[in-house]
């Protein structure tokens, strides 16, 4: 019998290295920190699950998580229906298609911190176009002082920035519907509501699943735009999970609790993504 040649293992090495450096090693570092206490100079004490318990019982974490869930819930509730509505209103063919697509895609091309800075300037109550206008028409608006105004601005910014993604995905789904479906629906005497309910929505389902997942994950981990716009304030009003995490890790330099919080954060994203995906694709599995 021939001795098996084991050289093929070398071919796997590049992939193993890649995965190790971009996922395994960083993750292991975080796990390592999450179970230890350090006072610097590379001296570590093993602490077990103490940090995890501390994070899970901390009111501060609960508050951040609640704010995060509220934020994500609101923007999903606005962006998905709004995106679908805009996609439905866009022309299906003709010269205006490309014009519309470019206009819609524009916000997606702007760097995140620039979006934050833009809205920051726009909404400033004394010099910003939006802020001054609102105050001029008699609405007392100051997002640096009023939590509600800060939230409203934050949500408006996210809707402005990211609804386009839902629009583009929904539009792609709509364009993939053959004309025959609309013709058949006309012949069958279907109302436009029925066309939406029985043709457009089912045909858009796959892309909408992707849209919801992407928007969920992105909004759940949002950092750049709110930190530029509000910096988490006023007070802690817009301190979302990622902002809180950075405060713990880099502001207070509590590496152990920050690592534990990162892992919990990661598991929450993973769990919620899985739930979304399972619920939205349930019908197809049947």
């Amino acid at each position: 019998m021939k001795t098996p040649n084991q050289k093929a293992w070398w071919l796997v090495v590049p992939v193993v290295l890649l995965v190790a450096f971009n996922a395994l090693i960083p993750l292991m570092t975080v796990i390592n920190y999450s179970v230890q206490e350090t006072f610097g100079e590379n001296v570590f004490f093993f602490e077990g699950v103490k940090w995890f318990q501390a994070v899970l019982h901390s009111e501060r974490f609960h508050n951040s998580l609640q704010r995060q869930l509220l934020f994500t819930g609101i923007i999903l509730a606005i962006e998905v229906p709004l995106g679908v509505a805009i996609a439905l209103a866009m022309p299906r063919r003709g010269p205006w298609v490309s014009v519309c697509l470019v206009l819609v895609a524009m916000p997606l091309l702007i760097p995140w911190n620039v979006v934050g800075a833009m809205w920051n300037l726009l909404a400033l109550p004394d010099i910003g176009l939006l802020g001054r206008t609102l105050n001029a028409v008699g609405i007392d608006y100051n997002y640096t002082r009023q939590p509600f105004a800060a939230w409203a601005t934050l949500i408006a910014m996210d809707v402005w920035h990211w609804t386009s993604l839902v629009v583009l995905l929904a539009y792609a789904g709509l364009s993939a519907i053959p004309d025959a479906y609309y013709q058949a629906a006309k012949i069958d005497g279907a109302s436009s509501g029925a066309v939406f309910r029985y043709i457009q929505l089912p045909k858009m389902k796959r892309v909408l699943t992707i849209a919801v997942l992407l928007r969920f994950m992105d909004s759940f981990m949002i950092y750049t735009e709110p930190i530029v716009l509000t910096g988490g304030g006023p007070g802690n009003a817009t301190t979302l999970l990622s902002i809180d995490l950075v405060k713990v890790a880099l502001g207070q330099f509590d590496l152990g609790p920050a690592a534990a919080m990162s892992l919990i954060y990661f598991l929450i994203v993973l769990l919620l993504s899985w739930i979304f995906y399972t619920v939205m694709t349930k019908d197809e599995a049947e």
Partner: protein
């Protein structure tokens, strides 16, 4: 049920048509009797689907009118025309069950549930869909989905007409044959006006009492299958219908008679004078050509066996003449003569039949 009449109809998909070729449908007048079974036959791109969509109201013609009975329906959308249409590719509402799919056209019109149920079950029985009624439509095969499309076309009882746009294209051959005879049977039972678009001559000729042959946006001939076969009004019809198609041979007209290779040929309706037109042709179907003791000298070039008969390809001075010879019949040697049946030999000028006097 209604008589369908198209008058002075013209259609273009362009904003500013410049020449004849820009018109998808050139000027045409057509009429279908109430309760008749009709076919629209023609090659891909001849305008038959355009014509069908104009009848159903999915398209509004650039010019001309569409009448159902005495009513002018030209500006009406499909749902106000009370028409059913089945498309080439299956259209099913994925999220609904087969039952709901079939019930959809009825429920949209607010028909009482008891009637809906009765109609759906009746149509499902006709199309062998009873066992799948409660399944999700999305899970069915292409055949099954097309049966649902057909079913939605047939489920309404009161329609003015049912239009079929190549409905059997995606269906398996064995099922195709069954569904075709089913449609024919349905027509005989319901006596609804049906118009069936196809590029398949077998489908057209077996389904319809009246066939309209189209080419390049014009109606070339409208007639019964027998008329199309025996007296094609245009060489296109002769060639498009029949397998193999009609022999179309270069001809001349001298001293009061059409001539083929210099020899006088008897035709069904010979004209007295030279017909106008630059190209003259003699058309005769392979079915009406036979080997004979005298006539046009030919040599046999190729024989293909189709089972029931053989298609013999003969040549006279590089012009091919095809004829059918029944299985078992003796073939002559390589040098032979062929002659035509005068009653089924036609003269064509620039493609169109020359109508002379019948002897």
């Amino acid at each position: 049920m209604a008589r369908i009449r198209l008058s002075n109809l013209r259609h273009t998909y362009q904003d500013r048509p410049h020449n004849d070729a820009d018109w998808a449908l050139k000027r045409l007048d057509l009429e279908w009797e109430a309760g008749s079974a009709n076919a629209l036959l023609g090659p891909s791109g001849c305008g038959k689907t355009t014509l069908l969509n104009i009848i159903s109201g999915l398209l509004r013609p650039t010019e001309g009118t569409v009448r159902f009975g005495e009513r002018d329906v030209t500006p009406l959308p499909p749902d106000e025309r009370n028409i059913a249409q089945v498309f080439q590719f299956p259209v099913v509402y994925d999220t609904m069950t087969v039952y709901d799919n079939l019930a959809f056209p009825l429920r949209n019109r607010g028909i009482p549930q008891a009637t809906v149920d009765a109609r759906v079950r009746q149509v499902a029985a006709m199309l062998d869909l009873e066992l799948t009624l409660n399944q999700r439509a999305a899970g069915l095969t292409a055949d099954g989905k097309q049966k649902i499309s057909l079913g939605r076309g047939l489920v309404r009882e009161d329609v003015a007409a049912i239009l079929f746009d190549e409905p059997l294209t995606v269906i398996d051959p064995h099922l195709k044959w069954r569904l075709r005879s089913k449609l024919k049977e349905l027509h005989q039972r319901l006596h609804t006006t049906m118009i069936y678009v196809t590029h398949d001559q077998t489908e057209a000729l077996t389904f319809a009492d009246q066939v309209v042959v189209m080419n390049e946006g014009t109606v070339v001939q409208a007639g019964t299958p027998v008329e199309l076969f025996e007296r094609p009004r245009h060489t296109f019809v002769g060639y498009f219908i029949g397998s193999p198609g009609m022999n179309v041979l270069p001809a001349t007209f001298e001293s009061g008679a059409p001539r083929l290779f210099g020899r006088a040929v008897e035709t069904a309706a010979p004209p007295k004078t030279t017909p106008p037109g630059t190209t003259l042709e003699i058309g005769v179907r392979p079915e009406f050509v036979r080997f004979s003791a005298a006539g046009i000298p030919v040599r046999i070039a190729k024989i293909s066996d189709t089972g029931r008969h053989r298609i013999v390809e003969t040549q006279h001075e590089n012009v091919t003449i095809r004829l059918l010879v029944r299985e078992g019949e003796q073939l002559p040697g390589e040098r032979a003569f062929v002659s035509f049946d005068p009653a089924h030999t036609q003269l064509y000028a620039d493609g169109w039949i020359v109508e002379g006097t019948r002897p």
